[in-house]
């Protein structure tokens, strides 16, 4: 009846190593997930100097509902990389606003030195297009660092 070793010498069939063959699958899955969900901005950055403001807040709206209107220092206006005259703004924004189910937010990206006359005209165009929500794009100004100096 003496079983050699009392049966204790039997080897476990489970491998001692952590299975790593599926690691690549996990990593690629994550990779593809991030590649698919990443949205790159649609229009190019224009050369403007941002005005600074302490009360700068993030816009609480989806990226697709934000339309950027760039106003360069010489008063030229760009939307979606296309130049427009100021009179054309309401014709362009109006249909987009209706298509967005009145959710469209206009981000006015004006150069800090642009005369206010242009911004005022732009506001009037937006009002005639029926747009209500407007954001003056600014850079965050740090009061603490300014006062320490």
């Amino acid at each position: 009846m003496a079983i050699k070793g009392g049966g204790f010498e039997r080897k476990s069939k489970a491998s001692q190593e952590i299975p790593s063959s599926s690691l690549a699958d996990i990593a690629f899955l994550l990779l593809i997930f991030f590649m698919v969900t990443t949205v790159f901005r649609t229009d190019r950055q224009r050369a403007i100097e941002w005005p600074a403001a302490e009360a700068t807040q993030k816009i609480d709206e989806k990226q697709k509902n934000i339309l950027n209107i760039w106003v360069e220092r010489d008063g030229s206006i760009f939307m979606n990389d296309q130049p427009y005259t100021i009179e054309e703004v309401s014709d362009v924004v109006g249909p987009l606003y209706a298509a967005s189910d009145r959710r469209l937010v206009i981000s006015v990206r004006g150069d800090r030195e642009v005369p206010y006359r242009t911004i005022d005209q732009l506001q009037k165009e937006l009002v005639s297009a029926g747009v209500v929500r407007v954001v003056f794009a600014t850079e965050l100004e740090q009061r603490v660092t300014r006062e320490r100096r």
Binding site: L31, A53, A55, K58, R112, E113, P115, Y116, V135
Partner: protein
């Protein structure tokens, strides 16, 4: 010689897949680090609807007139007295005046030749001070 031919090659006939995870994670980290999520930020205001006219009593209006030189002229309601301040002082003025009159409305009138940043400075000061009723106009003579 027959023995020599039976010797097995030591090179594995499988493609090494152990480093595949390393490659994938390297790419993953690269994309995680280089991706920039653009977040728009700024000072938000609500424009009035077209043909929306609201009658406001003069005594509830704080006129802030922005001149091209950068000075802000403060005029309270119907009084003809003009106080000249810098854009950063507007915050204190608003806090002081709104404590006396909670129905106060800020009317920011900017000169057409004044730089946009001056208007942003005043709007910023008002928003920091917690002002919600702000009217943006262009100065007309």
């Amino acid at each position: 010689m027959a023995i020599l031919n039976q010797k097995r090659s030591k090179v594995s006939d499988q493609i090494p897949t152990a480093s595949m995870a390393d490659i994938a994670f390297l790419l993953l980290i690269f994309f995680l680090v280089t991706t920039v999520f653009p977040k728009d930020k700024g000072l938000s205001i609500v424009l009035p609807e077209e043909q929306e006219v609201v009658e406001v009593s003069q005594k509830n209006i704080l006129h802030l007139i922005i001149q091209p030189t950068g000075v802000v002229e403060v005029k309270r309601g119907e009084s003809t007295q003009i106080q000249t301040v810098s854009p950063s002082e507007v915050e204190g003025i608003w806090r002081q005046d709104v404590a006396q009159n909670p129905n106060l409305i800020a009317a920011v009138k900017t000169h057409p030749d004044a730089a946009y940043k001056l208007m942003v400075d005043v709007l910023d000061a008002l928003q920091v001070a917690g002002a919600e009723r702000i009217s943006l106009q262009v100065l007309e003579n």
